[in-house]
């Protein structure tokens, strides 16, 4: 897909998508920051409760302490950085991709299909759809609509590094 030179939508939708981006980014940033600043957070509890087709892999992640430590570190920093980037509109596509890949894993670890019983109750589950899946979809939209270039640091960066002249934008 060629880099868009101009935003693909008019201003109204772009503002809406930027708002969406900020909200999703805020959520990620908060999740990441609370884990970073908490005295003892580990994904172990969540991983051990994993269900679904990939449960075995998730349990295995929790079982080995070195793997678990890395998982924890990656999780904390990924969430924080993705969140910050999304809020700022920096490397938006990359950040969205990273965020949605992570959320997809989370979704698959706790799929809201009927009949499963969890020790950690999952709220916001609506048969196959749950809030994780909704957020994944939001990130896809963000990834594909270049709001970073509209209102975000990506705009500055692409301005700095662009060689071809720009058309006047709205």
């Amino acid at each position: 897909m060629a880099t868009t030179e101009a935003t693909t939508f008019s201003r109204g939708p772009m503002i809406a998508i930027t708002a969406l981006r900020i909200l999703v980014g805020w959520h990620f940033f908060y999740e990441g920051l609370t884990k970073l600043t908490a005295p003892s957070w580990s994904a172990a509890g969540f991983l051990k409760q994993a269900k679904g087709p990939f449960a075995g892999s998730f349990h295995a992640m929790a079982a080995r302490p070195d793997l678990l430590a890395n998982t924890d570190l990656v999780t904390m920093w990924l969430l924080t950085l993705v969140g910050a980037c999304l809020i700022l509109g920096l490397f938006t596509r990359l950040a969205s991709l990273g965020g949605l890949a992570f959320l997809l894993m989370v979704y698959l670890a706790a799929p809201p299909w009927i009949g499963y019983f969890y020790a950690i109750p999952a709220e916001g589950s609506y048969l196959i759809v749950n809030k994780n899946l909704i957020e994944v979809a939001a990130l896809v939209v963000i990834m594909l609509t270049g709001s970073g270039r509209f209102a975000g640091v990506d705009r500055i960066l692409s301005g700095l590094f662009r060689r071809t002249p720009r058309l006047a934008t709205a």
Partner: protein, 323 residues
């Protein structure tokens, strides 16, 4: 471990026996179940006073051991951060030592520290102090506390001279003391937890602890070693004889608590492991009901048997780290 609160787990029953004279029966709600004292051949009022003292003891133990009490010893431990330590009382210490003993015996199948694992606490038995080596320790004595209470109630009843008694907590932890007159033992039944009217086996017990673990429909038990739910076991019962000698110093040998812990573990161990453990520990007896799938399968497996003296399964002074 992950049982719904309030549902009796046990497949233990007390068969009626009309010939042996008056049976006094006293009940008390505690630890999310019902404790009962059955006393044979005892004066009604005296037995009531003894039972009341016993239930006051159970209440006190609940206050020290329950993780649902904000100021219990266990809750205090559950709030420690890595490196912090706290003092505990005798009950908590003895329960933790028993938990460690059974943890070692079963290679980690029995683990009261959900999530962080038993190695996340260090026990200094001399100083009655427990140190957390990791944060977020979540101790749960649900699998031992009832048995421990039953043990202490049995001791109290003996102190009061109410020697012909049967004590249980929710029919999942029980101790048979001396039997009613003209009986060899208390008449107990092991029954199918899915169908309590279906009796697998009748026992006549005296001076022994009997414990039961069972799964109700929809429950699952989580194997602490893998974090995965366990299938394939419907119920397990364990009998441990009461030690003959009273102890003066050192942690209490608590047969019902040990039996409690073992039944929980036996829901997870393989039949071969259970058999090996029973062979190593004279006096230990176990019954296991594997989940055969169909309701008709009766495949109660029986391991071990009563021994002449003592029980090799109980923690001795050396293993408790007393020195």
């Amino acid at each position: 471990m992950n049982h719904r609160p309030g549902t009796p787990e046990g497949g233990i029953g007390l068969a009626g026996n009309r010939e042996s004279g008056p049976l006094r029966r006293f009940s008390h709600e505690a630890m999310n179940t019902v404790f009962e004292v059955h006393a044979a051949n005892a004066d009604a009022r005296y037995a009531a006073e003894a039972a009341q003292a016993a239930f006051a003891l159970v209440d006190r133990l609940e206050g020290e051991l329950s993780r649902f009490r904000p100021n219990s010893d266990i809750t205090r431990l559950n709030h420690l951060t890595a490196g912090e330590s706290a003092r505990v009382g005798e009950a908590a210490l003895e329960c933790l030592l028993i938990a460690r003993h059974v943890h070692d015996l079963t290679a980690g199948a029995f683990d009261i520290a959900i999530g962080t694992g038993l190695p996340s606490i260090e026990i200094d038995a001399d100083a009655f102090e427990v140190r957390a080596t990791a944060s977020g320790v979540r101790l749960d004595l649900g699998a031992i506390g009832k048995g421990y209470a039953v043990d202490l109630v049995a001791e109290l009843l003996e102190d009061w001279g109410v020697e012909r008694a049967f004590v249980h907590g929710g029919f999942s932890s029980a101790i048979a003391l001396e039997p009613p007159p003209a009986a060899d033992g208390w008449p107990l039944t092991l029954s199918d937890p899915r169908q309590p009217s279906r009796v697998f086996c009748r026992l006549s017990m005296r001076q022994a602890a009997l414990s039961a673990s069972g799964v109700r429909k929809g429950d699952h038990i989580v194997d602490p070693r893998t974090g995965a739910p366990v299938r394939g076991r419907l119920a397990a019962w364990v009998a441990v004889p009461r030690p003959a000698q009273a102890r003066d110093t050192g942690p209490r040998l608590a047969p019902a608590a040990v039996a409690d812990a073992l039944t929980t573990a036996f829901m997870l161990l393989t039949l071969e492991e259970i058999e090996a453990l029973c062979e190593r520990s004279p006096g230990l007896e176990a019954w296991v009901l594997p989940d055969g799938g169909s309701m008709e399968t009766t495949d109660l497996r029986h391991f071990g048997g009563p021994a002449d003296e003592g029980a090799g399964i109980l923690p001795g002074p050396t293993t408790a780290g007393e020195d």
